[in-house]
C-alpha cells in the first residue's frame, strides 16, 4: 500500500495560513482550522461560518468552498449566519512570541542596568574587572578616574565634551613618579632620545612592525598610561607587559630578536670610567701576585664584590674589605716625605721690608713666613671684595718675598691682604671656628652651613688661640691700633743686605740650631754681592705714603713671640689648659726649640723626654688639627675622613677643591676616588662611592648578577668579564671627563647571553633586560591629607 499525498494546494483544498501575523488560530494544533480566524488584533470576528452578503434584497451565504461552500440553510432573514461557530482561539504566532520575548529581555536588561547604576554599589558594580593586587587598596573609583567625581548623568556629555584636560593619567602620577615628562616616550624629549639612539634607517624588522612604525607611530605624540598599562584584568595580571613589537615600532634600530640582530654590547655596562680608580689588570697581574708575605690580598672576585640588592647589581664590599690591607697607610700619611696633614691655614710670606720701605703698614708679621698661603687663602678672602681684589692683583706678582721692585698697586694689595688676613685671624680667635664658616659661605645658606660644620670639625678654640698667639702675639691690640690709625709708619731701611747683616739679625747659636753648624744658608745659591746688589726703591720714589696719624705708637718686633707647637686633636682639650700642661703638651715657648733640639737635649726632664719621644708626625698619627710652625694643619684620621670629604665637596671653595684633589695631597683621596667634571667651568665632583643602586636612578638596562651565579662555569666571573691587558686604564684618570675611558675589561659578548636568552628558553623579551621608564626620578610622596592639600589634588 502506497502513501497518499497529504499536501494539497488550492484555495478549495487547504486553508490559508498567515504565520507572519501576530495571532493565529489556536485550533491549528489540534488539526482544526478556524473558519474565521483571529484578526490581526487578536480578536475573533463573527460568530458564524460566514459574513452573509445581501444581494437583491436577499441574504446570500458566503461560506468558502474550503469550509464546504454555501450552506444549505443559508443566512437568517436578518442577515446573520445560520451556522453558529464556537469562538476562535487566538494564539500568538511564533513571530509575536519572539517579539514578546525580545521586549521582555530588553526590559529586564534595562531594569537590571538601572538597578546596577542606581544602587549604592553602582560604581563598584561597573568595575570591569579586579584590579591588580598593587591597586587593591584603591577602593574608590575616583582614585584613578576623573569621571567618577561627577554624577552619572553627566557621563554622556563628558563622552562628547572630553575631560577638560583632567586625565586619568594625571591621577596615576599622583602615586607613580616616572619623571618630569611622563607623557613622552621613555619620559625623554626627542632630543634626549636622539642623543641616546640616533635615528637610523629601518631595517631588519618584520613588515608589520615597519608599517606600524611608518604609518601609525608618532614618537612625539603624548602617551597615556593606559596605552600600555591595562588595568582591571585580574589581581595577578601583568599590567607592565609590553610586546617586543611595541618596542620595535618606535626604535629606529630594529631587528628580529635578541639573538638575531640585537646590537652588540659595545658600551654596556660601562658608559663612563669607574668612579674608583682600580686597575684590575695591574692588581691581579702584579700587585696581588707580588704582595709581601702576610699581606691581605683578595683571592676571588667575591672577596671584593657582592650583589647589592634584589636586582643583583654588583658593588664593592668597601675599602676595609678590599683596599685597607695595602692602602690604609697611604691615607693616614705614613711614610710621606712632606707633612702628612693638610695645611688649612698658612701664613703667607711677604717682603715686609719692601713694604715698609714703601710706607706700607704691616704691623707684626712672622718673619720666616714663606709661600703664598694655603689653597684656602683665596677662599677665605672672598668674603671681603676689597681683599679679594687685592689678592687677585697680588697673585700676579712673581715673588711675594721680593717686592722691592713691585709697583705700588702690588704693594698696596699686599698690605690689604696682610690686614685682611689679620682681621680673619682676629675673627677666628674671637668667634671661633664659625668665623671660618662665615668667611666661606656667609650666614644665609643654612643648608650649606650644616655641611660647613664638618669643615671645622674638631677645630677647638684652644688650637685657634695657640695658632693666633704663635703667629700674631698681640693681634687684638695691633688691630685696634691699626683701625685707630695709630700704627707708626716703619722706618725705611737702607737697602744693603749682606751676609753679615743677616747674621747680625740672628743669634749665632740660634741660627746654628736651626740650620746646622756648618751650613751657610746662602752660600750655595747667592753671593753676598748679588744680595747686596738687590735694588731697593727709596720711599721718596714718588710713592705716596699712607696716611698714618702722628701719634702711632711703636709696635713690637715682628718676630713671633711664641713657638707654635703641635696641638693634639681639639677634642682632647675639653678644659682650659694651664701653662704647665700646655708646656708639657707643646713644649716651651721658643718657636725654634724644635723637636730636633729637644731630642738632643740630654738635660731634659723625664717628663720632657716622654713628651718629645715621638716626632710631631708620630704624635699626630691618629689625625686631627695641629699647629706646625706657620701652618695650621689637619691630618686625616683614616679612610673616609669626614672633614676632607667636606672640603672636597665644598663648591664655595673651588681653589681648595682643586688643591685637595691633587693625588699627592694628604689623604690621597683622589689617588683612588676619581674627580669628574665635563668642562673646566664646572666644579670638580669627587666620586666617593662606587656605582651602587640608587632608588632614584632608573637604568635602561639591568642585569641581575645573582640570577646568573648558578650557571657560571669554571671561569667564574671571568667567563663574562675578561680582562683587557691592552687597555690603558690608568690614562683615562689623568683627565676629568668621565666619558673618556678605557675599560679594564673586554666588551661583553652578546652571543654568550643569546645561548640561553631565546624565545624558547630563558626568553628574549625586550623587557627582560630593558626598562621603559628611565632616567632619574624619585618616588612620589605618600598621598596624605597634607600632601593633597599642598598639591591641590583631589
Amino acid at each position: 500500500m502506497n502513501k497518499k499525498p497529504l499536501q494539497r494546494f488550492g484555495y478549495q483544498d487547504s486553508p490559508y495560513h498567515r504565520p507572519n501575523q501576530d495571532w493565529v488560530c489556536g485550533y491549528t494544533d489540534s488539526g482544526q482550522a478556524c473558519p474565521r480566524g483571529p484578526e490581526a488584533s487578536g480578536k475573533c470576528s463573527g460568530a458564524g461560518h460566514c459574513e452573509p452578503l445581501q444581494q437583491e434584497g436577499r441574504w446570500k451565504c458566503t461560506r468558502s468552498d474550503l469550509a464546504g461552500g454555501p450552506c444549505n440553510d443559508g443566512p437568517t432573514s436578518d442577515g446573520r449566519c445560520g451556522v453558529a461557530l464556537p469562538p476562535c482561539q487566538p494564539r500568538r504566532s511564533l513571530r509575536a512570541k519572539r517579539r514578546l520575548v525580545s521586549r521582555w529581555i530588553t526590559a529586564i536588561t534595562v531594569g537590571l542596568l538601572m538597578v546596577v547604576l542606581g544602587g549604592q554599589q553602582g560604581l563598584a558594580l561597573l568595575e570591569p574587572g579586579p584590579r591588580v593586587s598593587g591597586h587593591a587598596q584603591l577602593q574608590a573609583c575616583d582614585a584613578c578616574h576623573e569621571s567618577a567625581d561627577h554624577p552619572m548623568s553627566s557621563w554622556l556629555g563628558r563622552v562628547f565634551s572630553g575631560h577638560a584636560g583632567a586625565t586619568d593619567s594625571q591621577r596615576c602620577l599622583l602615586c607613580h613618579g616616572v619623571g618630569e615628562a611622563p607623557e613622552l616616550a621613555h619620559g625623554l624629549s626627542a632630543q634626549q632620545r636622539e642623543a641616546l639612539a640616533p635615528a637610523q634607517p629601518m631595517a631588519g624588522a618584520g613588515l608589520k612592525v615597519r608599517w606600524a612604525s611608518e604609518l601609525l607611530v608618532d614618537p612625539t605624540a603624548p602617551l597615556d598610561c593606559g596605552q600600555c598599562h591595562r588595568e582591571h584584568r585580574g589581581t595577578q595580571a601583568d599590567i607592565s607587559a609590553m610586546s617586543n613589537a611595541r618596542c620595535q615600532t618606535c626604535h629606529t634600530q630594529q631587528f628580529n630578536s635578541f639573538a638575531d640582530g640585537h646590537p652588540d654590547f659595545e658600551d654596556f655596562p660601562a658608559r663612563r670610567r669607574t668612579r674608583i680608580q682600580f686597575d684590575h689588570v695591574a692588581h691581579i697581574g702584579k700587585h696581588f701576585a707580588d704582595a709581601p708575605e702576610g699581606a691581605v690580598v683578595p683571592e676571588a672576585c667575591g672577596d671584593c664584590h657582592m650583589p647589592a640588592n634584589a636586582q643583583g647589581m654588583m658593588v664593592m664590599r668597601g675599602f676595609d674589605a678590599g683596599c685597607a690591607g695595602c692602602h690604609a697607610g697611604d691615607i693616614a700619611g705614613a711614610g710621606r716625605a712632606d707633612a702628612p696633614g693638610v695645611a688649612i691655614l698658612q701664613v703667607p710670606g711677604f717682603d715686609v721690608q719692601a713694604l715698609h720701605n714703601a710706607g706700607m703698614v704691616t704691623g707684626q708679621w712672622p718673619e720666616f713666613a714663606e709661600g703664598r698661603g694655603s689653597a684656602f687663602l683665596e677662599s677665605l678672602l672672598q668674603a671681603d671684595p676689597t681683599a679679594h681684589a687685592a689678592y687677585q692683583r697680588l697673585r700676579d706678582a712673581d715673588d711675594w718675598l721680593d717686592l722691592s721692585s713691585a709697583p705700588l698697586e702690588t704693594l698696596q694689595a699686599a698690605q690689604t691682604v696682610i690686614w685682611a688676613y689679620k682681621r680673619f685671624m682676629l675673627d677666628l680667635r674671637e668667634q671661633g671656628a664659625s668665623a671660618l664658616v662665615q668667611r666661606l659661605i656667609g650666614d644665609s645658606d643654612r643648608a650649606a652651613e650644616r655641611q660647613m660644620r664638618q669643615l671645622v670639625s674638631g677645630l677647638s678654640i684652644h688650637v685657634i688661640e695657640a695658632t693666633s698667639d704663635a703667629w700674631f702675639p698681640d693681634l687684638a691690640a695691633e688691630w685696634a691700633a691699626y683701625v685707630a690709625g695709630e700704627l707708626p709708619v716703619p722706618e725705611v731701611v737702607a737697602p744693603v743686605i749682606t751676609a753679615s747683616s743677616v747674621e747680625a739679625d740672628f743669634d749665632e747659636d740660634e741660627f746654628a740650631d736651626l740650620f746646622g753648624d756648618s751650613g751657610d744658608l746662602f752660600a750655595s745659591d747667592e753671593t753676598e754681592t748679588e744680595i747686596a746688589a738687590e735694588p731697593v726703591r727709596p720711599i721718596s720714589d714718588g710713592i705716596p705714603a699712607p696716611v698714618i696719624p702722628d701719634s702711632v705708637p711703636a709696635m713690637p718686633s715682628s718676630k713671633p713671640q711664641a713657638t707654635p707647637q703641635p696641638v693634639e686633636q681639639a677634642s682632647v682639650h675639653t678644659e682650659a689648659v694651664d701653662d704647665d700642661e700646655f708646656d708639657a703638651l707643646f713644649g716651651g715657648d721658643d718657636l725654634f726649640s724644635s723637636d730636633v733640639e729637644l731630642d738632643e737635649d740630654d738635660t731634659a726632664s723625664p717628663v720632657e723626654k716622654k713628651s718629645v719621644a715621638l716626632s710631631l708626625d708620630e704624635r699626630m698619627r691618629l689625625g686631627g688639627w695641629y699647629l706646625d710652625d706657620l701652618s695650621l694643619r689637619y691630618r686625616p684620621a683614616g679612610h673616609a675622613d669626614a672633614l676632607l670629604q667636606a672640603w672636597l665637596q665644598q663648591a664655595a671653595a673651588p681653589q681648595v677643591v682643586t688643591a685637595l684633589a691633587d693625588p699627592g695631597s694628604p689623604g690621597r683621596c683622589t689617588k683612588c676616588h676619581s674627580a669628574d667634571r665635563a668642562n673646566e667651568s664646572e666644579q670638580l665632583r669627587i666620586n666617593w662611592h662606587v656605582a651602587r643602586p640608587d632608588p632614584h636612578q632608573h637604568a635602561f638596562t639591568e642585569f641581575n648578577h645573582k640570577a646568573h651565579f648558578s650557571i657560571m662555569g669554571d671561569a667564574g666571573c671571568m667567563g663574562c668579564h675578561q680582562l683587557n691587558a691592552e687597555a690603558d686604564y690608568a690614562a683615562a684618570f689623568a683627565g676629568t671627563d668621565a666619558r673618556v675611558f678605557a675599560s679594564n675589561f673586554r666588551n661583553l659578548e652578546r652571543n654568550k647571553c643569546a645561548t640561553c636568552h631565546t624565545g624558547g628558553q630563558a626568553g628574549d623579551q625586550c623587557t627582560t633586560c630593558h626598562s621603559y621608564h628611565i632616567g632619574e626620578f624619585a618616588a612620589t610622596e605618600p598621598l596624605t591629607r597634607l600632601t593633597k592639600a599642598l598639591s591641590g589634588s583631589p
Binding site: V24, G31, S102, V116, G129, G226, R246
Partner: protein, 271 residues
Amino acid sequence: MITFAQRRLRNTLISGLFFALAIVVYTVYRDSHARPEFLSGWTLLILVFLLAAYHIRKRLSMLDLSPAASWLQLHIYLGFGAVLAFALHVGPRWPDGLIESMLFAAFVLTAGSGIVGLYLSRRLPRRLTRQGEEVIYERIPAFISQLRDESEALVIDAAQRTGSSTLADFYRDELAPYFAGPRHFWAHLLGSGKPIFMLSQRLNALQRYLGADEREAHAQLVVLLDQKNDLDFHYAVQTLLKRWTILHVPATAAMLILVLVHVLLVYAFTA
C-alpha cells in the same frame, strides 16, 4: 546562473580576504602605541548595527532595498566578521566586570545562536527533502489529525467486520497516543529512528495474531504509521528551524543595549 556552491565559495573567499586584512590591520595597530581595543571595538560596534539592520530590512519589505536573500548573505558574512572582531576585542578570556560579562554573554548567545541557526538552515532542509513528503509547517497538525482519523476509522472498521478486538486493543494502547499529536521530537532532531522502530516492531509482531481481514487493515496502519513518522520528523525539524531565532533576536536586543552602555562607560572612564 551562479550555483549556491559557487556563490558560497566566492563569498567565503572575499570574506576570508577581508578577515585576513582586518587581522593584519589590527596587529599593526596593536604594535603601534595606539589602543587596539578602540579599533576592534568600533569595528565591532559598526558590524553589530549592520547585522541588526537585517532585521529592520525584513520589516521594510515595501522598500526596494535589494533582495532579502542578499541581505541574509551579508548578514551571515558580517556575522562571522563580528565574531572575529569580538575575538580580537576581548581576547581569550571571560571578562570580569558585571556589565562586560553580561555583554559577553549576550554576544556569545547571539553569535552562537546565529551560527547554530546557519548550520541548521544549511543541513536540515536536505534532510527534509530526503524524508517523506514536503509539507507546510502550519499544516502538520491538520495532517496528523487527518492520519489519526484515517487510522481510527480503519481500526473500527476492521473490528466491526471481523469481530476481533486484537487490532483495536493494540491501537488503543499503543497507536492512539502516537497519533494524538507530534511525537518523538528530540529523537527526530537527533536523527534517531529507535522509537518508531520499536513501535513498528510491536505492530508487526501483532500480525501473527490477526486474521486475514485484519491483516489488510494492519498493512494500512503500517503505512499510516510511516506517514505519521514523516510528519513528526518534519514537525521537529521545522520547529527547530523556526524557533532558534527566539534565542537569536532577544539576545541581540539585550546586546545592543549593553553595547551602548559599554561604549558610554569606556569613553567616560578613559581619559
